[in-house]
């Protein structure tokens, strides 16, 4: 269902481009947003259509990820330039809720991309992800922060 929704959204925005006659990227984005809102307006059972909640969530996730990236980078940078170490590194075992290949790959990639954490391996039965982290004040707290932050948000988008 999501693919057909997305394709009709694209079709509507190309129609908008053809009608307005200005083939610029800005106009395409505007047409896409306009047709998104129009399609949202004419849908009868909005709660069952995931396409409309997923788009805004994806944008929100991108900003959440950028925020985490900059925050963690600053924390690591502070540790690099000051003489004493504040690190408490360790390898942590994180139980996975994600099941499919795509979900686990994306989650491991995202964890590796934030500084201070590095995903080392996934167990053979895909139940556990081993992560090397720089700042482990409390083990349970760290696991909860990964599970409630990246994993929950990622699964909300993918499922």
């Amino acid at each position: 269902m999501i693919k057909t929704r997305f394709l009709s959204n694209l079709l509507l925005s190309f129609i908008w481009l053809a009608i307005t006659g200005t083939f610029t990227f800005q106009n395409f984005v505007f047409g896409f947003l306009l047709s998104f809102i129009l399609m949202w307006l004419i849908t009868t059972n909005r709660r069952e259509e995931k396409y409309y909640s997923r788009g805004p969530k994806l944008i929100g996730f991108v900003f959440f990820f950028l925020y985490e990236l900059v925050k963690a980078n600053l924390q690591v940078a502070y540790d690099v330039i000051t003489p004493s170490y504040y690190m408490e590194p360790g390898i942590i075992r994180i139980p996975l809720t994600a099941k499919t290949n795509l979900e686990i790959t994306l989650l491991a990639n995202l964890i590796t991309l934030t500084p201070g954490t590095l995903s080392l391996d996934v167990s053979d039965d895909r139940k556990v992800l081993y992560v090397h982290a720089m700042y482990v004040k409390d083990k349970e707290e760290f696991i909860a922060s990964i599970k409630n932050g990246f994993e929950r948000k990622l699964l909300e988008i993918l499922r």
């Binding site: 980078n73 690591v76 690099v80 390898i91």
Partner: protein, 126 residues
């Protein structure tokens, strides 16, 4: 206005790359070095590329910048993950002040199987 944006972005990018370079020298073990370098370098290169896109303000260059950033975000973690994994399993020691090591004893070098059982082991603080 554009000059200020370019100035801020490119300076921040260069600073992050510099910090990554200092991190390589200062960090005590391999895992921390990987953690510091790959990501700080990714963010730094990304910021410099965005600064280039703002400078040229050209669709062809902007789309190329977006493509480069996308592929960097896809490939950099895979490289870091493979280096980290291989070096742990070939027996690279962790920093002496490391607190937890949940991966200890989980890997079977004969069969290359990695188990997922929960047997918490704490490295005694020295």
């Amino acid at each position: 206005m554009n000059e200020i944006i370019i100035f801020i972005l490119s300076t921040a990018g260069a600073v992050f790359i510099l910090l990554a370079a200092i991190g390589v020298v200062r960090m005590p073990d391999l895992f921390l070095r990987i953690s510091v370098t790959t990501k700080a370098a990714t963010l730094g290169i990304g910021l410099i590329l965005v600064a280039a896109a703002v400078y040229f303000q050209d669709t062809a260059i902007t789309s190329r910048v977006l493509a480069i950033i996308l592929f960097m975000l896809l490939t950099a973690p895979v490289g870091a993950h493979m280096i980290g994994r291989a070096s742990y399993f070939t027996g690279v020691k962790m920093w002496i002040k490391s607190r937890h090591d949940d991966l200890k004893g989980k890997y079977d070098p004969k069969t290359h199987k990695l188990s997922s059982e929960d047997t918490p082991k704490k490295i005694p603080k020295t």
